[in-house]
């Protein structure tokens, strides 16, 4: 098949763009698999000859890697579970029932997403210090909930609104209790929404740096993201192989989950602007 006129030029441009955009990720992977001689070479070696897993082995044996990875898992799981539980009922209330202050609540939900996080370091730090929650994982979980809840409520509300009320009512007419209707009709329908929101909460709390860096002070309490940021120690004689290997390890879970829900996140952030 002959390509339309001009298509060839666009394709060449597209390939060049692909190369430029993906290069940093490729460079991370490639570096993590090279030996130190190849990494320190003055003329870059594009592909690792004799790939080695030494840097990965080195990275996971660095001090505090496992402790901090465990901390991250605890914080992430707690945030996701609590955020999902609370936001599901809040979303249910927002979508199905009218109550006073409903408008104010929606404004708050959107407003808190618009606030630059750096602007909230100070009040949250002082508030947590007041209640002895600095340098504790529970304090960090509380902060993450503040940011995760609005988004979860908002997204879930969108999913719940999409469910016709008649479906729920029909189930109740058939003799199901309210709980029965909920479990058998509502739950399967919101399941995709629950998955999307929990993955979103997972990714944001796994990646979060500002608050974890401010609120946690020692190796025993850091999250893995802060641990990674501390691997950098100046410009000379830096162990780039281990840093790139650790970066790869930390990025992998995010990439996997992100691929699962990318479409829904994009839609959630701009809902209303694009009528799909």
């Amino acid at each position: 098949m002959r390509l339309p006129r001009g298509r060839l030029g666009w394709n060449a441009l597209g390939l060049a763009l692909f190369a430029v955009m993906v290069f940093p990720v490729f460079w991370m992977l490639s570096t993590s698999l090279k030996n130190n001689d190849q990494i320190n070479s003055f003329n870059p070696i594009w592909f690792p000859g004799h790939p080695t897993l030494n840097h990965f082995r080195d990275a996971i044996h660095r001090p505090a890697f496992w402790t901090d990875a465990k901390n991250s898992v605890i914080v992430v799981v707690a945030t996701v579970v609590i955020a999902l539980g609370l936001s599901f009922f809040a979303a249910l209330a927002l979508a199905k029932y009218r109550f006073t202050g409903r408008k104010l609540f929606i404004v708050l939900v959107i407003g808190i997403q618009m606030l630059p996080q750096a602007g909230l370091i100070i009040p949250l730090y002082v508030a947590l210090a007041k209640h002895n929650q600095v340098n504790r994982l529970s304090g960090l979980i509380l902060v993450y909930l503040t940011f995760a809840l609005p988004f979860c409520v908002w997204t879930l509300r969108g999913f719940l609104l999409g469910i016709p009320k008649e479906l729920e009512e029909a189930a109740m007419v058939d003799g199901s209790s309210r709980l029965g209707a909920f479990v058998r009709i509502l739950l399967p329908l919101v399941a995709p929404g629950l998955v999307a929101t929990s993955v979103f909460a997972f990714i944001t709390s796994w990646n979060e740096f500002i608050f974890a860096n401010t609120l946690l002070h020692d190796d025993q309490h850091r999250t893995i993201t802060v641990w990674l940021s501390l691997l950098y120690g100046g410009n000379r004689f830096v162990d780039w192989g281990a840093i790139m290997a650790a970066s790869t390890l930390i990025a992998i879970p995010v990439v996997i989950f992100f691929l699962l829900v990318q479409r829904r996140i994009a839609f959630g952030l701009t809902a209303g602007a694009v009528k799909a």
Binding site: G6, R7, W10, N11, G14, L17, F18, M21, P24, V25, W27, M28, F42, L86, A90, L104, L108, I112, M114, L115, P116, Q117, A118, G119, L120, I121, I122, P123, V126, A127, A129, T146, L149, P150, N207, F209, I210, T214, T225, L228, S229, Y232, N235, R236, V238, W240, I243, M244, S247, I250, A251, V255, F258, Q262, A266, L269, T270, A273, V274, A276
Partner: protein
């Protein structure tokens, strides 16, 4: 209850900004009311105004590059073959998924002065001799690296959402315009752009909010120990002044000013653009 969780940080911020709240008060859990003193001291500090100007320019450059670049990529996505479109989308999503701290580490490695691949490529492309060039010497050079990092990370979201919106552009209209002999730029300006406008407005506002408050990338790429008066952004400024020097009242005042500016920037911009749209 939810309302309390959400409203509390802002309430606490306002309260703190009116108090003297330093290490002593932190240990006492009790601030001393000082009225508008913190605001006065911040607004009379030339560092604040320089930082504000730097942050505005930084935000304008980053948002401009992100929105224009992302739109161009979306237009390119429409024109390439299907297999390449899938490949490009996959690449974009991969970049989008990169955690910020991971991206910072990649950038530190690519732009390090010893044997960074960035210097090598620039030298090979005959842009100049960048052998062992240190990008972190001047403020401008530091921020050119921070900008490449932020724009690289932000392009995928804009490109993919704009591409999705492009499918809304009526095909017949574009073809009719082309038959009438309209140039590509005019077709884009008069047919495509009006359809994209509502989305571009939202993306621009979001980008302003994100870039004005950018913290992780400038803080880590330039280096936690290298945050000084001559290279502050609003976020690093309030971090060092408020948290680093344990002057929380002053930090809260800066935070509040910053939040107010972000709110004003996005509201003014959106309203202005809407008015322009109605006049045309």
């Amino acid at each position: 209850m939810l309302g309390a969780i959400l409203g509390y940080p802002v309430y606490s911020l306002v309260r703190l900004s009116l108090q003297k709240y330093q290490l002593f008060e932190l240990l006492q859990h009790h601030g001393v009311y000082v009225g508008l003193h913190n605001f006065g001291s911040v607004l009379h500090d030339s560092v604040f105004w320089h930082t504000l100007l730097r942050t505005v320019v930084f935000t304008a450059v980053n948002v401009g590059l992100t929105i224009v670049g992302g739109t161009l990529i979306a237009l390119l996505l429409v024109r390439v073959s299907t297999w390449l479109r899938l490949l490009l989308t996959l690449g974009l999503v991969l970049v989008w998924a990169m955690p910020q701290v991971v991206a910072v580490q990649i950038w530190s490695w690519m732009t390090n002065s010893q044997n960074g691949v960035f210097n090598y490529i620039l030298t090979e492309l005959h842009v100049g001799n960048y052998f062992q060039h240190n990008w972190y010497e001047t403020t401008f050079s530091q921020y050119s690296m921070v900008t490449t990092l932020i724009v690289w990370g932000a392009l995928p979201f804009v490109a993919i959402t704009v591409y999705a919106a492009l499918s809304q552009v009526p095909h017949e209209l574009v073809e009719a315009a082309q038959i009438d002999g309209a140039r590509a730029w005019r077709v884009f300006k008069d047919v495509t752009l009006p359809v994209l406008m509502p989305l571009l407005l939202i993306l621009t506002s979001l980008s302003i909010i994100w870039d004005f408050g950018a913290f992780t990338q400038p803080y880590l790429l330039i280096g936690p120990g290298q945050q000084v008066q001559s290279n502050y952004l609003m976020s690093t400024y309030l971090y060092v002044e408020g948290y680093g020097r344990t002057d929380f009242g002053r930090g809260a005042a800066i935070s509040l000013l910053m939040l107010a500016i972000v709110a004003a920037l996005s509201v003014v911009y959106v309203r202005q653009m809407l008015r322009v749209g109605e006049e045309q």
